[in-house]
């Protein structure tokens, strides 16, 4: 019989893997996963198919209104490139 906390950890790990699997492979995938899933499901991200411009606005909104930490320029660009390429109207996961 597994202990409750071990079960909980296993299920948390399974869920993390399941969420990660929602994101297509590509440069910036891990950064997107850890930044976004800190607060909300990756399903929130992948159900949207936004243009790079709207993702850009969304990142601003996340910082100004939703308590997301300010990103340094390099990370921000990497994340924006990933979203604008892989979670876009042309390429929806």
């Amino acid at each position: 019989m597994l202990s409750a906390s071990l079960t909980s950890n296993l299920i948390a790990q399974e869920e993390e893997e399941r969420e990660m699997a929602l994101l297509p492979l590509g440069e910036g995938r891990e950064e997107v996963f850890y930044l976004c899933s800190a607060c909300h499901s990756i399903k929130t991200v992948v159900q949207q198919k936004l243009s790079r411009e709207v993702w850009d606005e969304t990142l601003d909104y996340m910082v100004s209104e939703q308590g997301m930490p300010e990103l340094d320029e390099e990370d921000r660009l990497k994340i924006l490139n990933y979203l604008g390429t892989h979670v876009s109207p042309e390429n929806s996961p």
Partner: protein, 408 residues
Amino acid sequence: MAKNEHSWNRRNFLMRTGGASAGLIFGMAIPFARNMPASFLPIALAQDASNIPGKVGLTELNDRPLNAETPAHLLDDTITPTNRHFIRNNGNPPEDVDLNSWRLTIDGLVENILSFSIDDLKNQFDVVSYDLLVECGGNGRAFFDPPARGNQWTYGAVACSNWTGVRLSDVLKAAGVKPEAIYTAHESADTHLSGNPDLQPLSRGLPIDKAMDPYNLIAFEQNGEALHPMNGAPLRLVVPGWPGSCSQKWLNRIFLRDQVHDGAKMTDTSYRVPSYKVSPGEKVATEDFQIIEAMPVKSLITHPETMKSVSESMLEVRGHAWAGDTSIKSVDVSHDFGATWQKAELTSPNNAHAWQRWSAQINLPEKGYYEIWAKATDANGISQPFAIDWNPKGYLNNSLHRIAVKRV
């Protein structure tokens, strides 16, 4: 940053079933559990698409925060059962809610600051029940082109349940709204997804005139039972006809202000549309957005389910229609891509702010593919548009609902 834990997700559901993960169920091992894709639930458990306790058949858009809508054909009841009422959460719902210790405070620009238990509300005010329409402002966003950010609701972020509570207007009158107050501000016990205690997930408000509408309830029952935890238990506002976000769930404070409320998701572009018509994809300056008030005229086809085959030529089509702060005058249906229309039978609403039932017998003259379209017209003569009135944030899609039917 730590992941937020909350009780109403798949992970905890599985734990509550008592097995270690999904490998053991109903006292039996599942021989090939390891091979089961991670996103699959055993069919024995998957009676609905989402496995949200107390909900059946909802489509889950997110699990953190939880957002789930109802397929149109499951909204066929005149009064939406609680288990089919959509869920729109902005933050983490409160846990271990205690009905007896819950308090609602009325303060700000009032003569008397008041604080009530739920029993106080029941004892001190008229308790009334109404069928009330609640629709998310972003219902239909999924069809926007170019896409708009936010939950990609299709048709089912709408419901009309029977709600029981006390009138918001009675409670505000008891507190004595000061003449300088122009707006309410609502607060609730849910917490921000970021874990930052200084942020609120949602705090909306109403102009005083709308707040005094006698059909707004401070509700403690849905369909004769305690509220569902994801629909705001133990206490919520129900403000019919306006964006669902006005109907604050887990309500614990209403304060009166001498300015338009500037709480979470009241400002910038949240629950706002441009004050003038824009072309799809157009950039709009933030100061040109205005707060959404009454929702527009709309209808839904709840029978038959789309993409069904029928063998008879006569087909009963039915659904609901509703229109913000007003009522529906007529519903027309077409089976030939809008070339001809026939009037549907239309019932009166059970009370103001309830949706209205409509039905029509349609003749499908020969075998083949048909689309059934429904178009409602409100008491002011305003009808649903064919195309989406595009706006940057994807609100107020009231374009007519179409379903596909194949006669075989």
